[in-house]
Symmetry: C2
Subunit: 333 residues, 2 copies
């Protein structure tokens, strides 16, 4: 097999987060489902923005956050996602490139503006997200360069890609090219409501072998198998995919591999400031471990380390070098 050019290629919605702190009653007044992601149209976006408090703008997007995390570990990273050629789009492109990620998807010159996610952070650190997909809807299979996919040890895809109309075609194209080149394909289930929208398609991807590795949190897993019982869902998962990691917040994670499960503990934190990006950054650490042929337990510890970093500040991308953090914790990359 030819040498890899990238450790991880991510494909996802290119989004700028607009983050504000709020009280719980704001969520209730606006009919928001705490801790989840809702898709919104432009009028709803305008209405939410007009009523929310002073905000900061910071690059986000689930797979994009993961890939920024991969680069922060010192691994070779690439990203595919669609912005518009506007101020927020230029900020997104700057930020991901400045993080050390190869990002060459051409921006849209017409059509809707760069995608924005209005993130409301409540005093408990939980985040509630409202996404206006904008230009991210225009991600097209032509945006996927086959040579980049062939050169990536792992192609990582977000379940949210099922929302924009053509993005799932880009997803399928990338997965096929990756497997034909003998590379691995990973998928995050993204969100319990996203799983609710695309349950059958996600199960098909797993059972058909179109994806090799699944990331899910507890509520996504329960939604996938339509059960309230974690053990029931975990048992079903063991039969459906070769490798999966289920994250359980402060309870750590469970790695499901070859029909067996192994629990790995979380990394303790001082204070939960903003849960945004916890799952994204966990995936970053695990993917880096996997791409560098570490055992699953080590990969999960790298994931836990990255997740602990990102939830102790506002924003979903690392503020310190994850490579340094890993080294300080006896897990050199």
């Amino acid at each position: 097999m030819p040498a890899t050019q990238f450790d991880v290629l991510g494909i996802g919605n290119a989004i700028v987060d607009v983050i504000a702190r709020t009280e719980d009653d704001f969520l209730i007044r606006h009919g928001m489902n705490k801790g989840t992601m809702a898709l919104i149209d432009e009028p709803r976006a305008e209405a939410i923005y007009a009523s929310m408090g002073p905000a900061i703008e910071v690059s986000g997007g689930s797979a994009a956050n993961t890939i920024a995390g991969v680069a922060s570990f010192g691994a070779r990273a690439a990203f595919v996602g669609k912005v518009k050629d506007d101020e927020l789009g230029r900020a997104f492109a700057h930020d991901i490139r400045a993080a050390g990620v190869a990002f060459d998807t051409p921006p849209a010159s017409a059509g809707p503006s760069t995608a924005r996610c209005y993130v409301l952070v409540t005093p408990d650190g939980e985040r509630t997200m409202n996404t206006y997909l904008g230009a991210a809807q225009d991600l097209h299979p032509n945006d996927v360069d086959p040579d980049v996919v062939k050169g990536a040890a792992i192609t990582y895809l977000e379940g949210y890609l099922w929302d924009p109309p053509h993005a799932k075609e880009a997803f399928r194209k990338a997965a096929t090219i990756a497997h034909d080149a003998g590379r691995k394909v990973a998928l995050t289930l993204s969100d319990a409501f996203c799983v609710g929208r695309y349950r059958d398609e996600f199960l098909n991807l797993m059972r058909s072998g179109a994806v090799d590795l699944i990331f899910a949190n507890e509520s996504e897993l329960k939604s996938l198998y339509e059960t309230a019982d974690f053990d029931t869902a975990a048992a079903a998962l063991r039969g459906d995919v070769r490798l999966a990691v289920v994250t359980r917040s402060e309870k750590g994670c469970v790695v499901v591999a070859g029909g067996k499960s192994e629990a790995v503990e979380a990394v303790p934190i001082d204070k939960l400031v903003d849960a945004t990006g916890a799952g994204d950054l966990f995936a970053a650490g695990f993917l880096v471990g996997l791409a560098r042929d570490r055992d699953h337990r080590t990969a999960a510890r790298l994931g836990a380390l990255a997740a602990a970093e990102v939830i102790q500040h506002l924003g979903a991308r690392p503020e310190t070098s994850l490579q340094d953090l890993a080294r300080q914790n006896g897990l050199p990359i």
Copy 2:
């Protein structure tokens, strides 16, 4: 005298901060003068942005930060400043209004984009600023509504207004209207290099009585009187203005009033994260105290409290209610 509509009206450059952490050698490589503000043109702005790390965008502008702080104390606040009708301009307008500030300056529909300040924060928490003035250059005397000035107990102006061509005319107009209505006029000297550019004009404003209250930090004061000795500068200041406050970082501040000086201590902090906004928020607290007829010592303590809040996080606007903070510290507004 008619009742006031606002406690404080601020007039300043409307700027969005683009903040990134960096190492000291980045400043040296780019010929930046640590801890100060440099004016840059668009090509230099592009070059700095292209070479700096991942950033967050957050509303800034010196007087605008002060006014957001005034509102956070629960006082009545208004702001005049010029943005363009672009994404960053809309973010600026949203953020200042969401902070509770009356902001009605119409955005420019043509011309340069909304002003940006590239803020580089070094590991010691010091900030080095590079400002592209953009649309802020188009602030015009017509943007100053005489009724708003007449209705404000204090009109607060930033020295940086001397940089854009017409803004100083807006400044002079506002100062004249305020004094004719029996209101107070305050000025911050803004930056030691800004003082270097406009030393004679600032001294004239003070000596002619066009301003009643001056805010300066130590280096601005030394620059004003072209001396390296603080006591020499402070003695000169006593003769030139009725009321002045000189901030001295962790050493607190000195209030100069009626030819006498009084030192007021700083509020201790856990960790200096980002010094951006320290002077702006000190001014907010002092102005609120003054507008509410507190004694100078109490006003200075309110300023110290607000400054301590803002330097313990990234960004130059308060993240917690300064009104609550003041109450918790026995200084109810």
